[in-house]
C-alpha cells in the first residue's frame, strides 16, 4: 500500500542552520501519527513541508505517491489545524467553516449544510452566527477542526493542537480527537512537545531531535525500548546507564535505559540483581509519587518512589537502590 505521506530524505536549511536533516518518514493511511520533539527539533518544519507552506532544500515530499514539488498548499489533499487556530475574525463561525467550500465554488445552501454537519461533528451545533472572538479557546479549536474537515482532506495536519488549552480540556480533546480520527478514518499527523500527549494519542510516533528522526515506533516501543539515550530521556525520563560501569558478568557492553519506576529503594530485596548506593540530591513531591534523584560515582539516577515509601528520605542522606537486569533495556541505536 502506498504511504499517505512520504518524506524522502527531506532536508530544510535556514541560512546556516539545518532545521531538518535528511528525514526519511513513511506515514500509513489511516494512521494517527505523532511528531514528538523539543522546540526547535524540526517537527513543525516537517509539518509545514507536508502542508506545502515550505519546501525541502533537498529531498522531496510525496502525498499518496504524488510528488509535491509543484503543488501549492491549495492543491494538496491535506488540511492544517493551526496552533493559533488562524480563524478569520471578520467571518461568522459558519462562514469560517464553509470557507474551504466557498473558494471551491460550492453553492451557498450546500456549503452551509456541509458546514453545519462539520460543526455538529465537533459538537458546536448552533454556534453558526457567532464570531470567533466570542468563543472560548476550546470552542475556537473545534471551529478550526471543523473548518479543516469540511473539505474532506485525506490527511489532517495538527500543529500543537492542544497546546493552548488547559489540562482538563486537553484531556477531553485527546479522547475526542482520537475517536474523531477513528470514525473518519483519515490520516492525522500531529505535532507535539508533550510526550504524554504523543504516547496516549498516537498509533506511531517519530521522535525528533536537532532536525533528525531519532526513532519511529509505537508508543510502547518508544517508551519501553528507546533506541538512543535522547529518546530514553525525552520520552520516558528514563535513566541512561553505561553497562560497563556495572561490572556485571555476561552483560553485553553498551548503553542501557532503565525506567525510574523499576528501581526499588533498598538493596537485595525482591530479586534485585543490581544494586547501587548514592547520595540523595533532590526529592520532588509529585502527587502519588516522589521523584528522587541520587548521585552515584559516575552517573545520577532518577527513582520514582510511592509516597508511602518516601517518608524519611532526606536530601544529603545516602541511600541504597536495586533493580533487575531484565528491566534494563539495551539501546541498539546508541554508538
Amino acid at each position: 500500500m502506498v504511504a499517505a505521506v512520504h518524506l524522502a530524505r527531506a532536508s530544510r536549511r535556514f541560512g546556516a542552520t539545518l532545521a531538518l536533516d535528511a528525514v526519511e518518514l513513511e506515514i500509513a493511511e489511516g494512521e494517527f501519527f505523532g511528531l514528538l520533539g523539543p522546540s526547535g527539533s524540526g517537527k513543525t518544519t516537517c509539518l509545514r513541508l507536508i502542508a506545502g507552506f515550505d519546501h525541502p532544500s533537498q529531498g522531496h515530499v510525496e502525498i499518496f505517491g504524488q510528488r509535491c514539488e509543484d503543488l501549492p498548499p491549495y492543491r494538496r489533499p491535506v488540511s492544517t489545524v493551526f496552533q493559533d487556530y488562524a480563524l478569520f475574525p471578520h467571518m461568522s463561525v459558519l462562514d469560517n467553516v464553509a470557507y474551504g467550500l466557498m473558494v471551491r465554488g460550492t453553492g451557498k445552501a450546500e456549503r452551509h449544510a456541509a458546514a453545519r454537519d462539520a460543526l455538529a461533528l465537533v459538537k458546536l451545533a448552533g454556534y453558526d452566527a457567532r464570531r470567533p472572538s466570542e468563543l472560548s479557546g476550546g470552542q475556537r479549536q473545534r471551529v478550526a477542526l471543523a473548518r479543516s474537515l469540511v473539505t474532506r482532506p485525506k490527511v489532517l495536519l495538527l500543529d500543537e493542537p492542544l497546546g493552548a488549552l488547559d489540562l482538563k480540556l486537553r484531556e477531553e480533546m485527546q479522547v475526542e480527537l482520537k475517536s474523531l480520527q477513528k470514525s473518519l478514518g483519515i490520516t492525522f499527523v500531529f505535532v507535539t512537545h508533550d510526550q504524554g500527549e504523543a504516547l496516549s494519542m498516537s498509533d506511531r510516533i517519530a521522535v525528533f531531535d536537532h532536525g533528525r528522526v531519532m526513532q519511529v515506533g509505537s508508543p510502547e516501543a518508544i517508551y519501553e525500548r528507546p533506541a538512543v539515550p535522547f529518546v530514553a530521556d525525552f520520552v520516558g525520563g528514563s535513566n541512561v546507564i553505561d553497562g560497563a560501569a556495572l561490572a556485571l558478568p555476561g552483560l553485553p557492553p553498551g548503553l542501557y535505559s532503565l525506567r525510574p519506576e523499576k528501581i526499588r529503594l533498598g538493596a537485595g530485596d525482591d530479586g534485585a540483581q543490581v544494586t547501587a548506593e548514592g547520595e540523595i540530591v533532590a526529592v520532588l513531591y509529585q502527587g502519588g509519587v516522589h521523584r528522587v534523584t541520587l548521585r552515584l560515582a559516575s552517573t545520577s539516577l532518577t527513582v520514582l518512589v510511592p509516597a508511602a515509601e518516601a517518608r524519611g528520605l532526606s536530601v544529603g542522606a545516602r541511600q541504597a537502590v536495586g533493580w533487575r537486569v531484565a528491566d534494563m533495556h539495551r539501546m541498539e541505536g546508541a554508538g
Binding site: A51, G52, F53, P72, P73, Y74, V78, S79, T80, F82, Q83, D84, A86, L87, F88, P89, H90, Y99, G100, M102, V103, R104, R147, S148, T151
Partner: protein
Amino acid sequence: MRSEGAKAGLGLKLAAAGGLLFLHLPLLMIVVYAFTTEEKSYQFPPPDLTLKWFAVAWAREDIWEAIWLSVQVALISTATALVLGTLAAAAVARRRFFGRETVSLLIILPIALPGIVTGIALRSAYSLAEIPFSFWTIVLGHATFCVVVVYNNAVARLRRTAPSMIEASMDLGANGFQTLRYVLLPNLGTALLAGGMLAFALSFDEVIVTTFTAGQQTTLPIWMLSELVRPRQRPVTNVVAVFVIAVTFLPILAAYYLTRGGEQVGGSGK
C-alpha cells in the same frame, strides 16, 4: 479603577478647560463671523446676523472652482496613496529584506519633515527636471504625505493579522487572489478606510506644500489665504471656512470611530 488621590484638583480642571477653550473658541468665532452683517472688520459682538454671505459665496465662481480643484487633488492623492501605501505596507510587514527598516523610515519621513522642506525640495526637483507646475505637481506633493497615513494604518493592521491566517486560507483551497479578496482586504478594510479618510482630509486643507508645487491653480486653502487680504466681503471666507471645517472634521471623526479599539490612527498629527 479610581483611587482616592486620583481626583483632579480645581487648578488642573481650570487649566484643562482653559486649554480646550483656547483650542476651540477660535473655531466658534469663525462660525459666528460667517453670519455677521459687518463685512470689513471683525467686530465683537457682530452688529447683526444674516445668511446673505452664504448666498454670496454660493454665487461666486472662483469658490466653486477652488473647491472642485481641492476635491480632485484630494481624491487622486488619496487613491494614489491607497494603492502605494498598501503595497508598501504589505512588503514591509510580510517580508524580511535587506534595508527593510531604512525603507520603512524613508516612507514615513515626509510626514515628519516640515511641509516647507517638502515643498521647497519638490519645487527645486520640479524645476531641475523642468517639469512645469500643474495639477499633477500638486497631486504628487500631496501624495508624499498621504502615502504615509495609509501606510501607517495598513502596516499596523497587517502586523496584527496573524500570518497563519493567510496560510490557513491557502491551505483550505483559496488561491492568491481569493486570499486577497476574502481574507486580506476585509481585514485591512477599516484600516484603509480610516487611512484614506485621513489622507483626504490632510490633502484637502494643505497650504504649505501646495504653495510650492502649484502653478496658477488655486486650491481652496490657497484661495482662503489670498482672500484674507481683500478688504470687502470678509464673511464669505468664513462661510467657506465653515464648509472646510465640516468637510475635514467628518472624515476624521469617522476614521476615529472605525479604528477605535487598540489601533492608533497613524499620522493624524500633521
